[in-house]
């Protein structure tokens, strides 16, 4: 009677599973499904990562990698993909990197229809610098720069970058998932797979946003992370495919 392996300890494309991310961090499960999809599709991508807690996940991964300047991954990815049109190109950024610093670059890459897959691991804070407000921090969320909770009058409103991208003609696929439950992890994995498949078909710019827990940045205990994510980020931004090609 031979048991069947369902999940190895770590994805084959992760050289090391040791990392310094906080207990309860959602970035690692989000990167796990990404690497699993890449391996399942038998791809050999170039990965470009921005600056954030997730950077060390790219560092630990057995993928040809370029560390980019904060916010600039979609621009650098453009240069990579134009020179290597047959190589899958994946960018990995947090919300601080993509929606605060790099909003310009991601919108323009989408407008140009660059055939890359841009991933946004969105936890609504600048985690790496200690938990500060970003452009996706939701109203009411406490951070070190909004200690009484984000107040629209004082701090403005969060930006739903998925919704912006869905309006751009060059964007072929725009989806938002989350890792707050095993069910959502599975659903998000399907989104990432679809995005990469569409890149391989040359459909245009593909984008998957993954809402991830940051209990440290959110001032909550680790078991409360998923619930807080659902009540704050899912409630504000929603889950689902915001733009997808019609079924063949």
């Amino acid at each position: 009677m031979t048991p069947r392996l369902i999940s190895a300890f770590k994805p084959s494309l992760l050289q090391s599973s040791e990392h310094d991310l906080c207990p309860g961090c959602g970035h690692a499960p989000a990167w796990r499904i990404t690497l699993d999809v890449v391996a399942e599709l038998d791809l050999k991508p170039v990965v470009l990562a921005g600056h954030g807690c997730y950077t060390q996940l790219m560092v630990n991964s057995d993928v040809d990698s370029l560390q980019t300047l904060h916010g600039r991954a979609p621009a650098a990815a453009t240069g990579v993909k134009r020179m290597l049109p047959d190589t899958p190109v994946i960018t990995l950024q947090g919300d601080g990197d993509m929606v605060s610093e790099g909003l310009h670059e991601v919108l323009h890459a989408a407008a140009r229809g660059e055939r890359i897959t841009a991933l946004l691991f969105n936890n609504g804070v600048f985690g790496d610098t200690g938990g500060h407000m970003t452009a996706t921090t939701v109203v009411g969320q406490r951070t070190k720069t909004s200690l009484d909770g984000r107040d629209a009058e004082q701090h403005g409103y969060p930006i739903d970058v998925g919704r912006l991208l869905a309006q751009i003609d060059g964007a072929a696929y725009v989806a938002r998932g989350a890792v707050s439950s095993a069910g959502l992890v599975a659903r998000t994995k399907r989104m990432i797979r679809r995005a990469l498949e569409l890149q391989l078909e040359g459909a245009g710019f593909t984008f998957v946003e993954v809402l991830t827990m940051c209990p440290t940045g959110w001032f909550v205990g680790t078991p409360q992370g998923p619930e807080y994510l659902e009540e704050s980020m899912i409630a504000t931004f929603g889950i689902g495919e915001l733009k997808a090609p019609s079924a063949p």
């Binding site: 050999k44 170039v46 560092v59 040809d64 990698s65 370029l66 990579v80 020179m83």
Partner: protein, 360 residues
């Protein structure tokens, strides 16, 4: 040898393509715009990609990505646009990525920007400052070679005059010694091998293939620039062996200096000319030799005094170094003004050495 009448921007574009440039991204800005137009027109036919970027920052980051794949890539702007690119230039240097950056400067000569840079960390850029379109064509090709040879961003310091002058020029491909294979370039082929590649300023490598880390990596890069400084300095010098007065200039102003030097020498004045061709590495040893015995070392640059600092540092006698240039814009603020004039330069030289017209 076939010479064609070409605008400087067109000649430089052809030179870049002759050197193997296959990616260009830039943002329009006078007087760089024509170079972008020429690359947009010519590069696709040569099998390359030219993107009109949505900002200078985006353009140089695109070019950085292209360079990371091992392609010969370039970007450019004028000094105002290069100001935006400083972080990316440092990033290129600390990643040891080659890139050619064209500075088609406006009226001010941004020597500090071209040699000190506004990025962070211990990096330099090999910066070549041609005096005319003919030199610019050769320098362009040399820069693609030097960038690959030394794995560094490099700058062509051009300007409004070079960009817009039409000159009979032969853009023939120059031959260079081979450069090391780009084993560090990313193409996805090492993904899943257990030894995937990584380009990262922090240079810590990956778990299977640890790197030197930021301390050792940045020390090594600083040492590399010391090494480059010892071997890549270039200069042009005329009549230094008998000169009592040495005129020092760079870029387009060098043409005006050459003219005034010949004129004054014909009138019996012992004047010589020294022109750093590389702004960095600055040809300090050559300047020291050329300035020995001079009672006047006059620096003619179109700014408030920038290269004069380096001239003072290397001149045989720093006490005889003076600035005879200055800030000089035309009315639009886009190009050199009244100071870029042989007659004005001549008068300034004579005033500086205590001679007035007709009193010799």
């Amino acid at each position: 040898m076939t010479k064609r009448l070409l605008q400087g921007s067109e000649a430089v574009a052809e030179a870049a393509i002759a050197a193997g440039c296959r990616f260009f991204a830039g943002y329009p800005m006078l007087p760089f715009t024509e170079l972008l137009e020429q690359m947009a027109s010519k590069l696709p036919a040569a099998g390359g990609v030219c993107i009109n970027a949505a900002s200078e920052i985006e353009g140089i980051n695109m070019a950085l990505g292209a360079a990371a794949t091992g392609a010969r890539a370039a970007t450019g702007s004028c000094g105002q646009g290069l100001a935006l690119m400083q972080e990316a230039i440092a990033e290129l240097a600390l990643n040891e990525l080659p890139l050619v950056i064209f500075n088609m400067a406006r009226g001010q000569q941004d020597y500090f920007q071209a040699t000190r840079g506004g990025g962070w960390g211990d990096y330099r850029t090999i910066t070549l400052a041609p005096k005319d379109v003919t030199e610019a064509v050769d320098h362009t090709q040399l820069l693609f070679h030097l960038a690959d040879l030394h794995r560094t961003p490099v700058i062509l310091y051009g300007d409004y005059v070079i960009a817009h002058s039409s000159v009979a020029v032969d853009v023939r491909p120059l031959a260079f010694p081979p450069t090391p294979p780009k084993v560090w370039a990313l193409d996805g082929s090492m993904t899943g091998s257990g030894r995937a590649r990584q380009i990262w300023t922090w240079a810590q490598g990956k778990p299977n293939t640890p790197g030197p880390g930021p301390n050792r990596a940045w020390q090594t890069i600083a040492e590399k620039y010391d090494h480059i400084a010892g071997i890549e300095a270039r200069h042009e010098v005329a009549h230094a062996d008998d000169a009592d007065i040495l005129l020092v200039s760079f870029g387009t102003t060098g043409v005006f200096v050459d003219r005034v030097v010949e004129e004054l020498r014909a009138e019996g004045l012992r004047v010589g000319a020294f022109r750093p061709v590389t702004l960095w590495p600055f040809p300090g040893a050559a300047l020291e030799a050329a300035s020995r015995g001079c009672s006047h070392v006059l620096v003619y640059e179109l700014n408030g005094g920038q290269m004069v600092d380096d001239v003072r540092m290397y001149a045989a006698d720093r006490s005889v170094v003076r600035s005879i240039g200055g800030v000089s814009q035309d009315g639009s603020g886009m190009r050199q003004g009244a100071l870029l004039d042989a007659a004005v330069l001549r008068r300034r030289v004579l005033d500086a050495v205590g001679l007035t017209e007709g009193a010799r």
